[in-house]
Structures are given as structure tokens and as C-alpha cells.
């Protein structure tokens, strides 16, 4: 997958690129709007990660330009601006997704994978783990044809862990994934633990209980 990162903050672009390269994406950078405009005209990208707050270019113009290309890259708008989503939608420039800064790289990757499945139909909607099949579109989890009934949050947690199965996921990252869109006063890791406990209990009827490793003081990791 070929990704263009349009971001004027060099440090941020560095981190994005470092992460995406590790996840086997092919990354290209543009630090200015002009540079980005040239690059999208010359190359074919699958993804454009677009920061709209560029100093030399009206971000919305860049969005319009990409929408006028003969090929249709997936666009994720990375923004620190508020209520920009409404404006973009209002202009009919619709990006594929919006990620407000600061965002988690894991969240970005999850969104990118969702777009890949939806838009390019490259991967199947079904993730497999130790014989457990998770269908992210139908939102079902099955084991040898048997349906495993999960709550919405348990499903989202399992889905997220399956997308990042090689990593340790911290409680905070899981919390942000589940409740990240709600602005609340406090962070309490106990809530995540309860959902993980329930998820463990439900899956232990089908697979050995060692599928999820608890990393003390840190979080959880799936074991292959």
C-alpha cells in the first residue's frame, strides 16, 4: 500500500512514517501543500493522510484537487481543527475518515484497515485467530460454526486486539478505543479490565485460556 503523508510538522510525519513502514506500508512525505499537490499529480497513492492546516495551502483546496484525480485514493483527514468535519461534508468533499489530533497510531491503522476492506475489498472482512472467526462487517464471532455472543464493547475490544495481535495493548489504548470519543473527567483502567475478564470467560469455553496474556502493569497481548 502506498501512502502519502501530508503534514507540515516534521516530527509528526517522522513518527507516522516510522510506524507505517513497520506495518509494511510504503510511505512518501510532503511537508508543504505545493509539494503535496505535485506528488498526487505524479504518483498514484492508495492512501493520503492529509493534515489540512498547511501554512502555504488551503487544505480544502488540496482535498478538492485529490477528489478531481482520475484515480481515487482513500483520504483520511488528520486535523486539529474543530468542527471541520461538518464543513467538509457540507462542501461535498467527503473524506473517507477523519481523525482528530492527537490520535493513536493504532487507531489510525485500525481505521486504515477498515477503509482497505471497505474500499478496495483487498482483505476479507473476516479475521481469524486460533479458529475463532471475527466478521467485522456482520459483527459476528464464531467458532467452528458456533456463534459466540459478545456485547458491543467486547466485540470492539476483540476486533481491536486482532488487528494489533503482535503488540502489547495498554489499558489506556484500549480505553481510548472504546471510550475515546466521550470526553470525560477521569480515566479508570478498571472498566477495561472488567470487559477483558468477561471476554476471557466467554472465549474460554471454546479455546484454551492462554489466548490472552496479561502484561503486568502494562496491558494485554494476544498469544499466537
Amino acid at each position: 500500500m502506498h501512502v502519502l503523508i501530508v503534514e507540515d510538522e516534521v516530527s509528526l510525519a517522522n513518527e507516522l512514517s516510522h510506524f507505517l513502514t513497520q506495518e509494511h506500508y510504503l510511505c512518501d512525505w510532503a511537508f508543504t501543500g505545493r509539494e503535496a499537490s505535485e506528488k498526487i499529480a505524479v504518483n498514484r497513492y492508495d492512501f493520503i493522510l492529509l493534515d489540512l492546516g498547511l501554512p502555504d495551502y488551503e487544505g480544502l483546496d488540496l482535498l478538492r484537487e485529490t477528489r478531481e484525480l482520475e484515480y481515487q485514493p482513500a483520504i483520511i483527514v488528520l486535523t486539529a481543527r474543530g468542527a471541520l468535519e461538518d464543513r467538509i461534508e457540507g462542501l461535498g468533499l467527503g473524506a473517507d475518515d477523519y481523525l482528530p489530533k492527537p490520535f493513536s497510531l493504532l487507531e489510525l491503522q485500525a481505521r486504515m484497515q477498515a477503509i482497505v476492506r471497505r474500499k478496495f475489498q483487498v482483505n476479507s472482512n473476516v479475521l481469524e485467530f486460533r479458529g475463532i472467526l471475527l466478521d467485522s462487517v456482520a459483527r459476528t464471532v464464531t467458532y467452528q460454526g458456533q456463534n459466540i455472543s459478545l456485547t458491543k464493547k467486547e466485540f470492539d475490544l476483540l476486533h481491536y486486539m486482532l488487528l494489533h495481535r503482535k503488540r502489547i495493548l495498554t489499558r489506556l489504548q484500549l480505553t481510548e478505543h472504546i471510550w475515546g470519543n466521550i470526553l470525560e473527567d477521569n480515566y479508570d483502567s478498571n472498566y477495561i479490565d472488567v470487559h477483558i475478564k468477561n471476554l476471557r470467560k466467554k472465549l474460554s469455553e471454546y479455546i484454551p485460556n492462554d489466548w490472552l496474556e496479561t502484561v503486568r502493569g502494562v496491558g494485554y497481548r494476544l498469544t499466537a
Binding site: E9, T151, R167, Q173, Y187
Partner: protein, 443 residues
């Protein structure tokens, strides 16, 4: 008491006092004046008598016999004049009140007694005027003076009233303008139509000061908004860098734990910035209110989202929303955040096995949604502070930033919802949201 009333009362009081003083002083004064004028008159009469004597000689008075005295009264005994020869040793010139018997009737007179010498003889001239007549005059005078004074007082009080009213009208306008200001932002500077320079100065000063207050408010809001916005990018970089670091292979456990702690700290920073930005954006009206939100749906959504937390704490949530209420112009996600924070607090500060009652009903023509818990409660002296930013009234809690209730209040204000909190220490807290008048068609 209003300035206008004070001025009127003062003016009326001083006039009444002056009136009373006059009422007391007037009778003796007028009496004296009357006596004085009588004395003048008697003296004039004396001159007239002397003139007559000079022209016609004393014989015209004492014609027949030298011993005989002369006396003359007018018909109603108001005045008399008498002349008689006297012994020079008895000379006693004076003006005094005396009683005289006239035709078997005793009448009090003001009498001028004067001795004079003519052709070697000494005569006593007496000219008198009835005191009753004098009193009558003075009474009439007094009565009219009282009428006059009374009407003057009445008239001037009314004139003062009208004048003060007109004079103080600009002040009333200023006061009314100030009363209408709920928030400094709502103030609009306007000139004052008056030529009283004090009021013009007052109005200009208020306009000027309010302008400064507004400017300060705007600057503060802009500052918070801008700073928070500028902080988002560095926080973003840090967050991503931490995530990349954590994925480093063969990271020592100790380093990993430190990274997790850093992540939590960063998360706290991020929450503060996002909360400040949210408040700032709401205050700057950057959110749309273009959705119809059913409170029934909202309550159920929040409860669904949060019920697992309540379960974990052993807290039961009871929902009773018999009447639904639809907010016509609202922002669902903001209202969700508002209610979520309130219910979340109700869970967080509840006791083990406690309960939360969420009820919505029409009360006194208004729709009221209340969230009541059986938690620790808030001390009365802390109650007014709970909505202040960064104020934590509960026990220190490192993961809470103290902006939750500030968000709640800002969202409520944005939707013109009246927020009221009742709490009793050890018994629980009630958050009450009063919505605008119930529109029957919306139920």
C-alpha cells in the same frame, strides 16, 4: 429605596417641617404685625387730632365747660377718642391694652395715651381701637396665609416629583440596561439621550468598562482556544512517539512500565486540552444545534453506555421518564457528553450498592430531568464551586482533571438549560436540568 423616592420624600419632609414651623410662628407674628399697624394708625390719628386742634382750637373738643371731658365713640365701639384736662403730675404717655366700660359694656382696647400742654393747661388725649377688631383682622390674615402656604407646599411637592422623575430618567435607563445584562457578552454599548453631564459621564464610563470586560473575556476565550489548539500538535507528536517506542523489540520491562506511565500522564494532558478546547468552542458557538434530541432516547443511550460501570460498582440505575421531551435545536453529542459526565460522577462518587434515579417529568409547566444519587454528597460551602474549572471538591484523584462539571455547565448553558444542584453530605446529590417551557405539541 430608590433615589427618586428618597429625593421626593426629602423634599416633602422639609416642606412639611417648614409648614409646621410657620404654623407655630405665624399667629404671634401676625398678631405683632397687627398690633404694630394699629399703633401706627393710632399715632396717625393723634396727628390728625393735633391738626384739628391747631386749626380749630381745643374749644372744638372742649367747647362748653373747661372741666368737661370730651369723648366720642363710633357706632360699633370699634374706636374711640377722648380728651380731658389732667393734673400735670399724672402724665404717663404710653400705648397699652386696657379695658374700658362703654355704655355698660366692657371692651378691650388698644389705647394711645398722650398728655399735651396748650395755653398753660395740660390735657390727656386718648385714642383707642377695639382689640376684637384687631384680632379679627389677624385671624383672617392667618387663615389665608395658611391656605396659601399649604397649596404652595402641595404644588411644589408635585412639581419636584415631576422634575425629579424627568431629571432621573437617564439614571433609570442605565439601571434598567444593567439589570438586563445576564453576561457581559450580552452588553451592547449605547449613547444616552440626556444633557445632564453626570449621567453622560456615568453612561460613558459604564460603556467603556463593559467594553474592557468584554475584551478581557474575548481575549481569555481566544487565548484558551489558541493555546489548547497549539498544544494539540506537540501532544500528538509525543503520543505517537511513545507508541512507536513501546513497539521497540526487546524493551526492558522497566522501560516499558515507564512508557506506560508516560502514556497515562500524556493522556491526562490531552484530556485537559480537549476539555478546554471543547468549552472554548462551545462558548465561541462553533457547534451546531441542528438536531432534534429526544430526552428519552438520550437517557437510554447514556445508560446503555454506562451501565457496565454501574454494575462494576454495584450501583443500580433506575430510569423513569414517563413524559418525553424533544429539544428542537440541539447537539446530540454535546448533550450526551453532558449527561454522561453527570451519571458517571453519580457512579464514581456513589457508595457500594447505592443507586441512581434518573427521572424526567413535567413540573410546573417546565420539563425537568434529574439525576439523583445516594453518594457521598457535596458540602454546602463547596456547592457553588463545583462548576469552576479545575476545582475538585471530592477527594484528590490523580486521574480526574476537574473539568467534567465545567463541561456539563457549558453544554447546559449552550442549550439554555437551567442547571441546579442539590446535595446533602452523606446522603447524595441531585443534578436537575430544567428545560424551557414545555411545548405541548412536542410531547
Amino acid at each position: 429605596m430608590r433615589l427618586q423616592s428618597k429625593l421626593i420624600l426629602f423634599s416633602a419632609a422639609t416642606k412639611v417641617i417648614i409648614l409646621l414651623v410657620l404654623v407655630m410662628v405665624l399667629p404671634p407674628l401676625i398678631n405683632r404685625i397687627a398690633l404694630h399697624s394699629t399703633d401706627q394708625r393710632l399715632l396717625e390719628k393723634k396727628e390728625q387730632v393735633f391738626d384739628i386742634i391747631e386749626v380749630r382750637g381745643i374749644e372744638s373738643f372742649l367747647s362748653d365747660s373747661e372741666e368737661e371731658a370730651y369723648g366720642s365713640y363710633n357706632l360699633l365701639k370699634e374706636e374711640f377718642i377722648s380728651m380731658e384736662p389732667i393734673d400735670p403730675s399724672l402724665i404717663n404717655n404710653r400705648i397699652e391694652n386696657t379695658l374700658r366700660k362703654v355704655e355698660n359694656e366692657i371692651v378691650e382696647y388698644r389705647v394711645l395715651s398722650l398728655a399735651f400742654e396748650l395755653h398753660g393747661e395740660t390735657y390727656l388725649l386718648e385714642i383707642g381701637r377695639s382689640l376684637d377688631t384687631i384680632r379679627e383682622t389677624s385671624n383672617t390674615l392667618q387663615r389665608y396665609a395658611m391656605y396659601f402656604l399649604f397649596s404652595v407646599v402641595l404644588l411644589t411637592v408635585f412639581m419636584d416629583l415631576a422634575f425629579v422623575k424627568v431629571l432621573l430618567r437617564p439614571l433609570a435607563l442605565i439601571v434598567r440596561k444593567l439589570q438586563r445584562i445576564a453576561h457581559p457578552e450580552a452588553f451592547k454599548p449605547s449613547p444616552l439621550a440626556t444633557n445632564t453631564s453626570d449621567f453622560v459621564y456615568l453612561n460613558d464610563t459604564i460603556n467603556n468598562m463593559m467594553g474592557q470586560v468584554q475584551e478581557a473575556f474575548r481575549k481569555e476565550k481566544d487565548f484558551i482556544g489558541n493555546v489548547s489548539h497549539e498544544l494539540l500538535t506537540p501532544v500528538s507528536i509525543l503520543q505517537n512517539r511513545l507508541e512507536n517506542l513501546m513497539a521497540t523489540p526487546d524493551l526492558p520491562d522497566e522501560a516499558l512500565l515507564k512508557l506506560v506511565e508516560s502514556q497515562k500522564t500524556l493522556h491526562r494532558l490531552k484530556s485537559i486540552i480537549q476539555a478546554l478546547l471543547l468549552i472554548s468552542r462551545i462558548e465561541n458557538e462553533q457547534y451546531l444545534k441542528n438536531e432534534q434530541v429526544s430526552l428519552n432516547t438520550l437517557v437510554n443511550d447514556v445508560v446503555n453506555e454506562i451501565s457496565d460501570r454501574a454494575e462494576l460498582r454495584g450501583v443500580t440505575i433506575t430510569v423513569s421518564v414517563p413524559d418525553d421531551f424533544v429539544l428542537p435545536n440541539a447537539n446530540y453529542s454535546l448533550l450526551f457528553t453532558m449527561l454522561f459526565n453527570v451519571v458517571n460522577n453519580a457512579i464514581k462518587y456513589n457508595k457500594e450498592g447505592g443507586s441512581i434515579q434518573i427521572s424526567g417529568e413535567v413540573r410546573a409547566g417546565k420539563y425537568e430531568l434529574s439525576v439523583c444519587d445516594t453518594g457521598t454528597g457535596i458540602a454546602a460551602d463547596q456547592l457553588p464551586k463545583i462548576f469552576s474549572r479545575f476545582k475538585r471538591t471530592h477527594a484528590p484523584d490523580s486521574e480526574s482533571h476537574g473539568l467534567g462539571l465545567a463541561i456539563v455547565q457549558t453544554v447546559a448553558k449552550f442549550h439554555k438549560i437551567k442547571l441546579h444542584v442539590e446535595s446533602e453530605l452523606g446522603k447524595g446529590t441531585c443534578f436537575k436540568f430544567a428545560f424551557k417551557k414545555v411545548n405541548a405539541s412536542l410531547i
